[in-house]
């Protein structure tokens, strides 16, 4: 496991006691080897982010995951504060700012709206990939590889453990795949993202191809 990728999950949820889905998600990945779960609202309850510590954490990992609920087409406030402070000029971008170059970036988000809502004809008018453009461009500007996001839609409809289980399992498998570099991204088509279609990028060769 020496050449395993080290994964940093920057987790932001201001009201975790109300989000069963996110609680399940973080519990499912907490024990994974080479995965560091960093709960920002827990670490910085008054938003006083320790920039040096955060930069050191970034340097020590190969894959950076932003895990958060999708609030107003973006992240909860602390993650924005984190970007404003930690992604410094000269560290993350600009002259000499190459600390993050070559790392991978993944957005893992949960949305209240269902998948259909995120389309031209839907209530939100834009696709998830379009709305995540600021994150994508942030990653690119820092020289990171932007990965197709992992999205769980319609979280308020997931009321029973059985409904959440498949997502929780997928998320864990995805992080394991990123860690061991076994994800086959070419399984996804342009503009597609990870929802409940993970079997195409994870695990043994997809059976459907031979059908």
């Amino acid at each position: 496991m020496d050449n395993a990728n080290r994964i940093l999950v920057l987790f932001a949820h201001p009201a975790l006691h109300k989000s069963w889905v996110n609680r399940r998600l973080i519990r499912a990945i907490g024990d994974l080897e080479h995965v560091t779960l960093h709960d920002l609202y827990e670490a910085y309850p008054s938003f006083h982010i320790d920039v040096k510590r955060e930069q050191a954490l970034l340097l020590a990992h190969d894959v950076i995951v932003f895990q958060h609920p999708f609030y107003w087409y973006s992240s909860p406030a602390i993650l924005k504060e984190w970007q404003d402070l930690v992604l410094e000029h000269g560290f993350a971008y600009g002259a000499g700012g190459t600390a993050l170059a070559g790392k991978k970036f993944l957005s893992a988000i949960t949305t209240g709206g269902q998948q259909q809502a995120y389309s031209r004809s839907g209530a939100n008018r834009f696709a998830i990939r379009e709305l995540l453009a600021p994150f994508e461009q942030t990653a690119r500007l820092c020289g990171m590889d932007w990965l197709p996001p992992f999205v769980i839609h319609g979280t308020h409809l997931l009321r029973e453990a059985g409904q959440i289980d498949p997502y929780v399992r997928s998320y864990r498998l995805l992080l394991m795949g990123l860690r061991d570099d076994t994800v086959r991204w070419d399984g996804l088509s342009e503009g597609e993202y990870l929802y409940h279609n993970l079997e195409r990028v994870l695990g043994p060769s997809p059976v459907t191809d031979h059908a």
């Binding site: 006691h17 069963w20 609680r23 008054s46 006083h48 982010i49 320790d50 402070l85 000029h89 600009g94």
Partner: protein, 618 residues
Amino acid sequence: MHDESLFLQAFIYLAAAVVAVPISNRLGLGSVLGYLIAGVVIGPFGLRLVGQEGEDVMHFAEFGVVMLLFLVGLELQPSRLWRLRLPILGMGGLQVLATALLIAALAMGLGLAWTMALAVGLILSMSSTAIGLQSLDEKGLAKTDAGQSAFSVLLFQDIAVIPILALLPLLAYEKADLGGHGPALNPWLQAVMVLGIVAGIIVGGRYLMRPVFRIVAATRLREVFTAMALLLVIGIALAMQQVGLSPALGTFVAGVVLADNEYRHELEGDIAPFKGLLLGLFFLTVGASIDFGLLIERPWLILGLVVALVFTKLGVLVALGRGFRLAWSQTLLFGFALAQGGEFAFVLFSFATKAKVLPESLTAVLVAVVAFSMLLTPLLLIANDRWLQPRFASPDEEREADGIDTSDSPVIIAGFGRFGQVVGRLLLAHRCRITVLDHSPAQIDLLRRFGWTVFYGDAGRLDLLQAAGAAQARLLVVAIDDPDKALEIVALAQKHFPHLAILARAQDRRHAYALIRHGVSLIRRETFGSALEMGIDALRLLGVRAHRAHRIAQTFRQHDEAALQEMATIEGDDALVIARSRQLTHDLEQLLQADGYSISADNDQAWDVVARRGLSRG
């Protein structure tokens, strides 16, 4: 030399307890079995160290049960008791009724007359409060469903003793002279007296005891308070006996009345050791009184009756447990805890013999059966623990922890002055239950008038922390204003309740260092927070924008707290302390200048891609 024999007896009983109980505990058998076995060993069928006087000692030791019920009452606020009315009347009533009838039927099957059978049934339907509650408590199971149900049933039995005592003489096979036993009063007069005494306990407990406790507490002499507590229990027991009621019931009522009292934890702390010793003595005498001679003479009869008694009671209890929707594991625990004859059986059998309800030859056998069933209970509970429970233990359901445990108060706050109050009010606002200890009677009075639940007591005493529930609590907030005392409490809690997370109020830096060296990780200096807030106010008045002033203060706080931890380890070497603190001050200045939001013109240029291209081209 009466004195000498008293000391000798005390020596024998105490030595037996001190030797047997630790061994029994180490073997995982619990203290009750240890006492019982020790009793057998020193008894007439063992080393013959104690003999006939055992009976007297037993009557004395039964007072332990009275104290036990007083303590149980103290834990039960009237509101909680009201919530238990269904299990007490329903479960307790059905248990006594069903067990009594079943045993009576069995006894008639064995050829007893119906009057005798009924008497035996009623007497054997009692279970042992001492053994049942003590065993459950020792395993920390008193607050479980099974524990609560067992308690309810036992409480009903305690009440049922009174009508049973009244009923037994009616079953007599020949007219007996009961002179001397029970008051020969006119029933109406007796009823009035009973009501009067109960009302007296309630009114006295509500209104009279508080000022009395306050006066006694103000003397600050511990032994006077202890004497007061004992006086209270003994006085009530005497009064109840005068009107022919069970002393245990009377002290239980007194306990319930005093459950809201601010001196409750102090009372508990003072009575508990006496209760423990007397109960221990009671178990010892039960062990010593077991008649092995009878067992050797008629082994199959005795053993058969013991098995029949235990299984009949167990059957009824299990049916009740399931009927009242206890889980299987709880039902079994409930059943095994109460499947024995009780200490009341001894009293009732001797009464029944005198009242000519049962012949002596029969009661001798039955007393032995009850004693053996008591001996069997700890063994059955162990068997239940080891072999039966694992089958029912459901793998822990994925329960969502809601962060705050609401069953018992998870937080103890020691010291409820201007510091502890803020902590307590914040927790209460979040609906977290707290137990508050303070040792100033005046302060307690004041707080009580504002509707706070505060208990009198010195948190530096182990028994008081215990009574306040330190064994079950999760946090201990040490908020008293005496720095040395605070260190004492911390050391005490760390030694005896290592599971408690300790939060300590530090008076100043030096006190904070001492607390850190004691291994307390959560320390707040009492003036630091508000001084920092005022620093922010000052910065703002100087024209610094609010958010920046806030950030500066936060950086300052972080730095200062880290410095505090570091300096605690080097305190003592003055030169080193001064040098290091200069260095830290310098570091802080640097840190504040390099604030995260120092966005310079360079940074903006980096974003102006068009301008940059222009530059490189031009």
